[in-house]
Symmetry: C2
Subunit: 459 residues, 2 copies
């Protein structure tokens, strides 16, 4: 009899696992059932801001593979609009509710792939029946926001609460739709994924774009009129709002796991081993935005919900479920985004992370340009490096600049992954041509500066 794999969650991690397992095992060996509570499978959450702005048609274009493709090409029994409401680890069954037709089904599994993803963080004041307040994680969330933005009375004033990637990207997207946009951030600075000195460059760009950025203000509630949001209430008074988007980050969706006795790690997400197995529970796998990963630089378990990790992890889990061998070797915290044309890249530890991990370090900020100084269109590029003292080992890097800034972080990510010191990095043989770099690439200039500071701290 065929083994049976049940997948909970039809997005990147779960469906990568399903398709990878299927590549290794035919239907006679492995039956696969996937439950998805929403309307879409395998989509790009990261594309939602560009759908909202109108740059990308959605939602179909954001779907990498739809349920029919999984059914036909991968012979996966995909059950859409089915929410798994319970896992019985003893009987090895899941209980799923049909959100459309009603009723529940129980299905037996040999292997269970837990890939529920993450949920937007909603403070108490956002747990409301008032319409017009949106968390943003799934395509269904994106569709709901767009319906609202296109409904009547037409929203004109948007407030984004929280300045992470999604918040910053959606602020720009709604501005491009013609709304006035205020971003409210409790901390001193939004964009806390980079250090404050680098975030300042991003905030300047947001303000120049026309986003009202208000920092150091906590949100305490909302006001409503006729069941529709009318303002965000802050410590400094109300801010009128026809639409509110939460940009406070996401938390792993672990409710089902906790109820079933699947243990969480110190980050609050599900612990997995190198092969994406839940330790101590044979045949139970987890991957994607609901799990924690090892941060290779700090050595700590962290929750970093990004599609790139979810895809890798799903692939690893599926390979193993299918009888192959694969491991997920952790992350180093690489991420890129943009505000208008200003590009932002980061990898490794910020200063605060380096301190929290116990490192002593130096940090340098080097100004240079994306092209040879004389080449048309040359723009400034700022590279920050954080290096252990006295070893010089790279701990983290951040880049802010225009064209070709963001993805330069990959060069630093590869250096970081390999444990290079900034001394080593000054020798790197990087591409040079006037349209693409000064003769000393910004990465090399920053490494040289870090070496100077490490070896000649008095300069």
């Amino acid at each position: 009899m065929a083994q049976r794999l049940i997948v909970i969650g039809g997005n990147a991690a779960g469906m990568s696992a399903a398709s990878q397992a299927r590549r290794r095992c035919g239907r006679d060996e492995l039956e696969i059932i996937a439950f998805e509570r929403g309307h879409f499978t395998s989509y790009s959450s990261c594309g939602i801001p560009y759908w909202v702005s109108g740059l990308v048609d959605g939602p179909e274009k954001l779907v990498a593979r739809d349920p029919e493709t999984f059914r036909r090409r991968f012979e996966v029994d995909v059950r859409m609009r089915h929410e798994v409401v319970g896992i019985d680890l003893d009987r090895r069954e899941v209980i799923a509710r049909d959100l459309v037709g009603g009723g529940e089904v129980r299905e037996r599994f040999d292997d269970l792939m837990y890939a529920t993803g993450a949920l937007p963080i909603r403070p108490a004041w956002a747990e409301t029946n008032v319409h017009g307040v949106f968390g943003m994680q799934t395509l269904d969330d994106g569709a709901a926001l767009i319906d609202w933005l296109e409904g009547e009375p037409r929203p004109r004033r948007a407030v984004v609460v929280g300045g992470g990637y999604i918040g910053v990207e959606l602020a720009e997207a709604m501005l491009q739709r013609g709304l006035t946009v205020t971003l409210v951030e409790k901390a001193d600075q939004p964009m806390s994924t980079v250090d404050e000195d680098m975030a300042e460059l991003v905030v300047d760009a947001m303000r120049e774009l026309g986003v009202h950025v208000r920092t150091g203000i906590g949100v305490t509630g909302i006001e409503e009129r006729d069941g529709r949001v009318s303002a965000v209430v802050t410590e400094e008074g109300p801010i009128p709002a026809d639409v509110v988007v939460l940009g406070l980050g996401v938390r792993p969706d672990t409710g089902l796991a906790e109820a079933a006795g699947i243990p969480l790690g110190p980050s609050g997400a599900i612990r997995v081993d190198r092969r994406m197995r839940v330790p101590g529970l044979p045949g139970v796998w987890a991957a994607g935005d609901c799990v924690e990963c090892l941060h290779r630089i700090s050595g700590m378990p962290v929750h970093v919900p990004l599609g790139t990790h979810a895809n890798k992890q799903g692939r690893v889990a599926g390979t193993n479920i299918g009888g192959g061998y694969a491991t997920f070797m952790g992350i180093i915290g690489t991420a890129v985004t943009k505000v208008c044309d200003l590009e932002v890249g980061r990898t490794g530890l910020r200063e605060r992370d380096a301190s929290a991990a116990g490192f002593e370090f130096v940090s340098v900020v080097a100004e240079s340009t994306n092209r040879a100084g004389y080449y048309p269109g040359t723009r400034p590029m700022t590279v920050k490096l954080i290096a252990e003292r006295p070893s010089g080992r790279l701990l983290g890097a951040q880049i802010v600049g225009w064209s070709e800034a963001a993805k330069r972080i990959d060069t630093l990510a590869a250096a970081l992954w390999n444990g290079m010191t900034v001394d080593d990095m000054t020798a790197l043989d990087l591409g040079y041509a006037p349209p693409y770099a000064p003769v000393w690439d910004p990465v090399l200039i920053a490494a040289r500066k870090a070496v100077d500071v490490l070896h000649h701290p008095s300069r």
Copy 2:
């Protein structure tokens, strides 16, 4: 009494050495004299095509530091239009000819920095008094070409002989000036810095641009009228030409060194040790386009004349001359260029290099895109990887594509520098956001494909 450093050659390597040495030693410790036979110091040869095309004003903008800056800021006795014609290693003197005022001077040195650079390769037929035939290496070469292109009778038909970087870039530059351009290449394909399958993509782009690319044709001579070039003679008949540019590469300018008894390495360029010293000749240093470097992947000495190496090597030499400690750790052959908007990057070994070095290897070509598929402006990107078999160790990589293709080679260069296997590379944590990459970066997609081919050669 102050020690005296004499620098032969006032471009990147020589003047980086001079300024680095000066940073460490004041004038009372070190006297520095630099001889330059041309009209410019410390300039970007790589910028010449953009000067020729009119994109960049020249020549001043291409000069990073002019003689006056070196005299005032670095207290270097820069002697322009002085050609060193002899080196007496026994008496530790150089003999320099004043190309303007006439006469010769002899100057004593304690340290000698040999940084003569490279010379365009001129076949016998190009050793001629006929006007309108140009090699291209120095700013003076660029100025001579531009004078000719702007003179009367105005040249209308250009022939570029040889399809290396300079040839390809100058073909485009002259096309942009309104000339008809033919590129004649003896080999089956120009752009031999990448493998033939990748070069084909570049040639397609050149042809689309309007360059007449003629391959497999040797040039045997030129025809002239009134002392001006009128045609290039080939094995397949004459090609009319009002201007001929040599794009056959460069050779190290070692004449003086050979005459003085400075030994050359197997590549035909000057041998140096890790600190840029000429072995066996204390106080004699060499750097830049006249030296050979260790190729870290093949383990062979190679001659790779590029500004980025010249700057690094000059800095290393200058640090050591100034009493510090620095080493040059070799190259891996990274280079980038573009043809119109088509970007080309390469690092490490091509297939033929890998074979010549004795490696067994697999090579894969992976097609993907520079952005998420749904994001506007997404264009194809082709990544080729060459990996040792069976170890999987990366040996080389090539990228051809549009926006953000060329500098992606740096990620691969960092992986290569660190000896990563393609298996390791599939785990790399690279930046992902829809405007900058698909969720699996082209680099990761190529690495995955290489792993598949290595481990499942039958697929």
